[in-house]
C-alpha cells in the first residue's frame, strides 16, 4: 500500500511537473504553507519532517508536533512525536495529565479514534493512531492538566488535496 501510494505520488508529481513545464511554468508547489512550521524543532534532523509549533494559551508551555514523514497523509493512520517545553525551554513535566487530539472545527467533528500517548523521555511523547479522514482545516489540541485546570496549545493545519 505504501509502495502504491509512493508510486502514485511520483506519477502525479511527474505529470504535474511535465504539464507545468510544457506551459512555461515551473514553480514547484510548496511542501507546506503552514506559517507555524519550524526548522528548529527537536526533530529538525529528520529529513522532510513536518514540525508544527505553538505556545499554550497562558504561555506556560510550548509544543512541537512532529510528523517524520512530512505532510500529513489523507485518510491514513499516522503517528507524531510531541515535544513540550516550559517557558524556560526545559522539558515540561506534562502536569498531571497530557492529551493530544485533533478536530475540524468548521465541520463540527474530530477524529473518530482516540490517540495513544506514550512518554519516551522527559518532555517527549509518541502519539499513535491519528487519522485525518478529510481534507480541510484541522486543529491539533495539546491539553495539559494540573489539578482542576487545563491549559491548551492549539495548532492549525490545512490538509490539502
Amino acid at each position: 500500500m505504501d509502495r502504491m501510494t509512493r508510486t502514485k505520488s511520483a506519477i502525479a508529481a511527474a505529470l504535474a511537473a511535465a504539464l507545468l513545464a510544457s506551459c512555461g511554468g515551473g514553480d514547484a508547489p510548496p511542501e507546506s504553507n503552514d506559517p507555524t512550521a519550524s526548522a528548529d524543532s527537536p526533530a529538525a534532523h529528520v529529513a522532510d519532517a513536518l514540525t508544527l509549533s505553538a505556545a499554550s494559551a497562558r504561555g506556560t508551555f510550548e509544543v512541537d508536533v512532529v510528523h517524520a514523514g512530512g505532510p500529513i497523509p489523507l485518510n491514513e493512520a499516522f503517528d507524531v512525536e510531541l515535544f513540550v517545553r516550559g517557558a524556560d525551554g526545559t522539558p515540561f513535566d506534562g502536569g498531571d495529565a497530557i492529551g493530544l487530539d485533533a478536530r475540524m472545527q468548521a465541520h463540527g467533528h474530530g477524529m473518530l479514534r482516540d490517540v495513544e500517548l506514550v512518554q519516551a523521555a522527559p518532555g517527549r511523547w509518541r502519539a499513535e493512531g491519528l487519522l485525518f479522514h478529510m481534507v480541510g482545516a484541522w486543529q491539533f489540541h495539546v491539553d495539559v492538566r494540573r489539578g482542576a485546570y487545563v491549559e491548551r496549545a492549539q495548532i492549525d493545519y490545512e490538509l490539502e488535496h
Binding site: L20, A106, L112, R113, M134, V135
Partner: protein, 449 residues
C-alpha cells in the same frame, strides 16, 4: 475524443491560459470544445483516485488470499442450508445481479431488517464494514448475519455441522484452515450464544451452554473459519478498471483511446465532482470513499424523525466483540487493525453517522442510502444539491453540507460521471454458486496434494 483532448489541453496550459490560449502541446487534440478550468493540480488529484489498487492485505485472516478458502467461501455464500428455513443464503440479500444488493429499501432475509443491504463490490477496500462499521474485517462481518434472526437465523453449530458433514466443503476447509478441531462435538444440535437482549436460558443459548468450554471453543473456531472463507471469497468481488481509470491513465500516456473513455457529459460531471460539488470531501481515494462515517442529515425512510444511532452503536458493537481484530480469533491481534479498534472513539458526535459508500459500480444498487431512502441516483443528487428534506437533529452533528444548487444539466452530467466509475464485469463463474462437480474436483485436488 475532442472533448478529452480539450480537457488535456486545459490541464496542460491552465497556468498560461490567460496569456497564451494557443499554448497547447503539439500532440494534444484540438481544443475549444470544452473549456474546463482544470489544472495540473487537479491532474495530480485524479491520480490519487485511480487506479484502484489491489485490495489491502488482511493479516487478521490467515486465509484471506487462499484459493481453497475462497472457493469454500463462495460455496457457503450461496448455500441456503445456512439459514433457519433452508431458503435464505448470503446471496438472497447480496444478489450478484443487483450489485450484490437486493433492490429493496430495507433488507429482507427471514424478516425485514432496519437498513438497506450494502453492496459487496469492493468491500475489501473498506476498513469498517456495514453501514455503522460494526465489523472491522470482512470475516467478522460475515458471521453475524448467519445468526441474526431477521437475516439467516441459523447458528454456529449449523455452520460447523454443514462444513464437517459435507465432504467437499470439509476438504476445502482442511486444505486452507487446517484439520477440524478434535473437540468438535459429534452431536451438534442447533445452538448459539444469547443474542443482545435475549435471555441466557432461552432454548438456543441454553443448548450452547450445555457444551463444555472446549467444545464451544471448537464450534467457534469452525464458525470463524467459515467467516474467514467467506471473506476470502468477498475479497475477490472487486471491480476497478472503469472508463474513469482508463481516462486517468491516458492523461499520462496520452493514449487517444483512453482519453476518449470519457465523453463531454462525463468530463463536465468530473469537473463538478472534483470542484463545486465538493463530493471528494467524503468520497475520496481510489475507492471513492473515505471509509469513515458522516451524518448527512438524510431524511428517514418514513419521513419521520431519524432514530438510528448508526456509528454510535456500531463502534460499541465492534469494540466489544470477541471477533474483532484485537480478539482471540484474530490472526494479528497486535496489528494495525487491532490498534484501530482498541482506540475507537465512543463519542456522541458519531450518533446518526453512517459509512461513506463507495461510488464505484453503482449499477443495480438502487435504492440508495442506509434505508434506501432515495429510489435512484437522480434523487440522491437532487438531495445533495438542494438539501431539501434534511433532518438536523441537534447542534452536535457534523456540519459539512451546503446546498450547491446544481442545474438540471449539471445533475445529469454528474450522474454521467458516476456512470464512468463502472468497472469491467467479473467472470460470471465468480458470481454464482460453484457446481457440485467443481467443488468435488477442487476437493479431490487438495486431497491429492
Amino acid at each position: 475524443m475532442a472533448a478529452a483532448g480539450a480537457l488535456l489541453a486545459a490541464i496542460a496550459c491552465a497556468d498560461g491560459a490567460d496569456e497564451d490560449r494557443g499554448g497547447a502541446p503539439e500532440d494534444a487534440a484540438p481544443t475549444g470544445v470544452l473549456d474546463l478550468p482544470v489544472d495540473a493540480r487537479l491532474a495530480a488529484r485524479l491520480a490519487s483516485f485511480s487506479p484502484l489498487p489491489p485490495v489491502p492485505p488482511d493479516p487478521t485472516n490467515r486465509v484471506a488470499d487462499d484459493p481453497s478458502a475462497a472457493l469454500l467461501g463462495q460455496a457457503l455464500f450461496f448455500d441456503e442450508r445456512l439459514s433457519a428455513n433452508g431458503r435464505v443464503s448470503c446471496a438472497t440479500c447480496h444478489d450478484p445481479d443487483r450489485g450484490f444488493t437486493d433492490g429493496r429499501e430495507l433488507a429482507f432475509g427471514l424478516a425485514e431488517g432496519r437498513r438497506k443491504t450494502p453492496t459487496l463490490w469492493n468491500a475489501a477496500h473498506h476498513r469498517w464494514l456495514t453501514w455503522d462499521g460494526r465489523a472491522d474485517s470482512l470475516w467478522m462481518q460475515a458471521l453475524d448475519p448467519i445468526e441474526d434472526p431477521t437475516e439467516m437465523g441459523a447458528t454456529r453449530t449449523d455452520v460447523a455441522r454443514i462444513v464437517r458433514d459435507d465432504e467437499d466443503l470439509r476438504a476445502l476447509y482442511e486444505a486452507s484452515l487446517g484439520a477440524l478441531p478434535e473437540a468438535l462435538p459429534e452431536g451438534l444440535v442447533t445452538a448459539r450464544p444469547a443474542r443482545p437482549g435475549e435471555a441466557a436460558d432461552a432454548p438456543l443459548p441454553a443448548a450452547y451452554a450445555s457444551y463444555t468450554e472446549a467444545e464451544r471453543a471448537a464450534i467457534d473456531e469452525v464458525y470463524v473459519g467459515a467467516g474467514k472463507a467467506l471473506a476470502a471469497y468477498q475479497r475477490r468481488l472487486v471491480r476497478g478498471d472503469a472508463p474513469f481509470d482508463r481516462f486517468v491513465a491516458a492523461l499520462e500516456t496520452r493514449d487517444p483511446e483512453g482519453l476518449g473513455a470519457l465523453g463531454g457529459p462525463e468530463l463536465r460531471g468530473l469537473e463538478i465532482f472534483f470542484g463545486k460539488g465538493s463530493c471528494t470531501l467524503c468520497h475520496s481515494g481510489p475507492n471513492f470513499s473515505d471509509s469513515e462515517f458522516h451524518n448527512n442529515a438524510l431524511p428517514a425512510l418514513d419521513r419521520g424523525e431519524p432514530d438510528d444511532a448508526g456509528r454510535y452503536d456500531g463502534a460499541a458493537v465492534v469494540a466489544a466483540s470477541p471477533f474483532n481484530a484485537a480478539g482471540p480469533f484474530s490472526d494479528a491481534p497486535d496489528g494495525n487493525a487491532a490498534r484501530a479498534v482498541r482506540t475507537l472513539r465512543q463519542s456522541s458526535e458519531t450518533y446518526g453517522e453512517f459509512r461513506t459508500p463507495s461510488l464505484r459500480n453503482l449499477a443495480g444498487r438502487a435504492p440508495f442510502m442506509h434505508q434506501g431512502q432515495f429510489e435512484d441516483l437522480a434523487a440522491v443528487l437532487e438531495f445533495y444539491s438542494t438539501l431539501e428534506g434534511q433532518t438536523l437533529r441537534s447542534h452536535h452533528q457534523e456540519q459539512i453540507l451546503r446546498p450547491v444548487r446544481l442545474e438540471r444539466g449539471e445533475l445529469s452530467d454528474l450522474a454521467a460521471f458516476l456512470g464512468s466509475l463502472e468497472g469491467d464485469p467479473l467472470d460470471s463463474r465468480r458470481l454464482a454458486a460453484p457446481t457440485r462437480d467443481e467443488l468435488r474436483a477442487a476437493a479431490s485436488a487438495v486431497r491429492n496434494r
